[in-house]
């Protein structure tokens, strides 16, 4: 909906006729506004939440009948897939062009083209970008988006900005999804989401500069590394992390626990040792050695270390106090142009061989456990440098979590109602200062 008070063009044209002087025009405008009352204008520019006329959830979008009707029409011939950077397998063909094998195979199998964009760097910023389209009931231009479990995802589900999935169309998902990614706490029954990958928020360090073993969250407090310590500035990672460090399970944490975590983060900040509160850009600074030790997302670091010789000195661990695990979810935004093509592509990534290829490339936690055996088999069959890479991936607890690690892994807190504001008011100012 429009944020501007509407002005009738005809009235405007009339008012600008020369028989009325400029001075008169202003006077009339003043009187008019006074007479109408300011509140009418102000009320007209409110922002609608739930129950607004914005989202096109009315009617049958997402209902079984709607999906059935779509199936009769058949999928459109193009899917717009928007994801995070460094998250999908890339290769070069004989001419040296960049290709994305798992997507190309999808196009080959179904005849549906995929436009892939790595446009998401931050959940909050991306959500703010597409929210106006949702509010006005328009197509966001994306058929699949990948959003981390958290405030933005919960809000999109609650406001009807996502299309309900029809799991009769996702045979691979139904057969292959692992226990961690089936029926998650933030989306019971996978009504709106299917996991893309999960990952751990842990600590990465560069052994060129940090030569002692890193084991704990408190290593990010070491004044020796002043100015070269990175901490995430999003609303979920650092707070959850601080709670784990304090021995609190963030999933079941209370506002008192949050306060303790906030105090710890403030103490860390006020030591003046942190370089910056980061988003995805931490990886660039870590790669060019401005950061020596930083909060990091597991796959980013493992992938760098495995595939680039210049990053051989990178290390990643989850602290002994416990690990923070999150899930990036594929979902279909309301108003999407090709939802059927989208759900087909989402399900495509639950084929074990496709899932295995993806894991071999991005080194994140796959929602398809059966892919693990394929990675292992590929590792056994491979030769040379490739073998070492695949064996590392197949054996990494951060790609195929061991039971011990899973036991010590915690998810973000699912926030409801007033808790959201309470959480944000407590934590966001820390990262601002």
């Amino acid at each position: 909906m429009s944020m501007q008070p509407r002005i009738d063009p005809a009235a405007l044209r009339g008012a600008l006729m020369p028989r009325i002087s400029r001075r008169d025009l202003f006077r009339y405008a003043g009187v008019g506004a006074g007479a109408l009352g300011l509140s009418a204008i102000l009320a007209a520019c409110g922002v609608e939440g739930e129950g607004g006329n914005g989202a096109p959830t009315g009617g049958a979008e997402g209902s079984p009948e709607w999906w059935a009707a779509l199936q009769e029409q058949g999928p459109g011939d193009l899917v717009n897939f928007t994801n995070w950077p460094a998250y999908i397998d890339v290769a070069r063909d004989r001419e040296g062009n960049r290709t994305r094998p798992t997507l190309d195979m999808f196009t080959e199998a179904t005849g549906i083209d995929v436009v892939f964009r790595a446009d998401i760097n931050d959940n909050a910023a991306f959500y703010a970008q597409i929210r106006p389209a949702f509010e006005s009931g328009q197509d966001t231009g994306h058929d699949i988006i990948v959003i981390t479990n958290g405030q933005q995802l919960s809000e999109m589900m609650a406001l009807g900005y996502l299309i309900q999935l029809d799991h009769s169309l996702t045979p691979n998902f139904n057969a292959q999804v692992g226990p961690v990614h089936k029926d998650p706490a933030y989306d019971p029954g996978n009504k709106y989401t299917m996991a893309w990958q999960s990952g751990f928020t842990g600590i990465a360090w560069n052994t060129k500069f940090v030569d002692e073993p890193v084991t704990s969250f408190m290593d990010l407090f070491n004044e020796k590394y002043e100015g070269h310590i990175g901490v995430f500035g999003n609303e979920a990672d650092a707070p959850s992390y601080a709670m784990v460090a304090l021995g609190i399970n963030p999933e079941t944490s209370t506002p008192e626990d949050w306060q303790k975590a906030a105090d710890l983060l403030i103490e860390q900040r006020d030591r003046g040792i942190i370089r910056k509160f980061y988003d995805q850009a931490y990886l660039t600074d870590f790669e060019n050695e401005d950061l020596w030790i930083t909060m990091a997302w597991s796959g980013d670091i493992i992938n760098d270390k495995l595939y680039f010789p210049e990053f051989a000195t990178f290390e990643f661990t989850t602290p002994e106090e416990g690990a923070v695990i999150w899930t990036d979810n594929m979902c279909i935004p309301a108003g999407a142009a090709n939802p059927l093509g989208a759900i087909m592509l989402m399900d495509w990534y639950y084929k074990p061989d496709i899932a295995a290829r993806l894991t071999e490339w991005n080194a994140y936690v796959s929602p398809v456990p059966a892919g693990g055996e394929i990675v292992q088999a590929d590792a056994d069959a491979a030769k040379g440098g490739n073998k070492a890479v695949l064996e590392t991936i197949a054996g990494s607890p951060y790609v195929f979590p061991t039971p011990e690690l899973s036991e010590k892994s915690f998810s973000y807190r699912v926030l409801e109602g007033d808790e959201i504001e309470q959480w944000n008011d407590l934590f966001l100012p820390i990262f601002l200062d």
């Binding site: 300011l38 509140s39 922002v47 909050a124 959500y127 406001l159 900040r269 910056k276 600074d285």
Partner: protein
């Protein structure tokens, strides 16, 4: 403006929607919560405007008086980098000034700078970034007013036995004041409201009010509070600019 004022008086959450409740406390809440950031922004704005004037005046002066027939060429060269997007230029600076980047790397390895020296993430980087990005807004108005000065006036001053410095202080500087006035106005307003430089070149302790508004709007999705903050900033700038124009400007700016 009205829309923003309206939003600033609403109450609610982004999940349940916002309703107009004439909640003026949004303004006082915003001020008391974030006064520190307002002050920091005003301080940064003042420093940047001052630095920018000091840097720009000699440049504009030189081009106007000694540029000859290449004046436009010099101006064009000066503006050339600014054809590249604002954000890209700022990100490039964070690259150029990185701890072991192309500037500090060599200086450190020959021992001119201590190992721990860094610029990015400090207030200095933010101030320098804003100053750089706003340089054209200072140079151009200065140049216009300096260029219009009749050179024979300077000669006349010299004929009347003033030396170079006196001629500058008594003739050129007063005649260029309208340009200085405009330059201050054009530079200080975007400087106070800037948030890109603090986000890209800054670190903990450098966030400005623009960053607070961005966070309130994007992350917390507290639209009323974000609007209240933006409204206060705008109102303060408007009042400041009006006072400034009343006290110092008007007559000169019309000459």
């Amino acid at each position: 403006m009205l829309a923003m004022a309206g939003l600033a008086l609403q109450e609610g959450t982004s999940l349940e929607g916002f309703r107009l409740t004439w909640r003026f406390a949004n303004f006082t809440d915003a001020l008391s919560k974030y006064d520190e950031f307002f002050l920091r922004s005003l301080r940064n704005g003042a420093i940047v405007t001052g630095a920018s004037l000091l840097l720009s005046y000699p440049i504009a002066y030189w081009i106007a008086f000694y540029g000859g027939r290449f004046k436009t060429v010099f101006l064009f060269l000066l503006l050339l980098p600014f054809f590249v997007s604002f954000v890209i230029r700022t990100v490039s600076w964070s690259f150029i000034l990185s701890d072991d980047g192309i500037v500090f790397g060599p200086l450190k390895s020959i021992g001119l700078l201590p190992e721990g020296f860094r610029v990015v993430g400090k207030t200095f980087a933010v101030l320098a970034g804003i100053t750089y990005n706003l340089l054209p807004f200072t140079i151009l108005p200065l140049y216009v007013s300096l260029e219009r000065i009749d050179k024979s006036l300077v000669e006349a001053a010299k004929d009347l036995y003033s030396n170079k410095v006196q001629a500058f202080l008594k003739v050129v500087l007063p005649l260029s004041l309208p340009g200085v006035f405009a330059a201050i106005l054009l530079t200080s307003i975007p400087a106070v409201g800037d948030y890109v430089n603090a986000a890209v070149l800054g670190g903990p302790g450098t966030a400005m009010i623009g960053n607070v508004i961005q966070s309130e709007f994007l992350v917390a999705r507290d639209y009323p509070e974000a609007s209240a903050l933006a409204f206060i900033l705008m109102a303060a700038m408007l009042v400041g600019a009006t006072l400034y124009a009343r006290l110092l400007g008007t007559e000169e700016i019309t000459t």
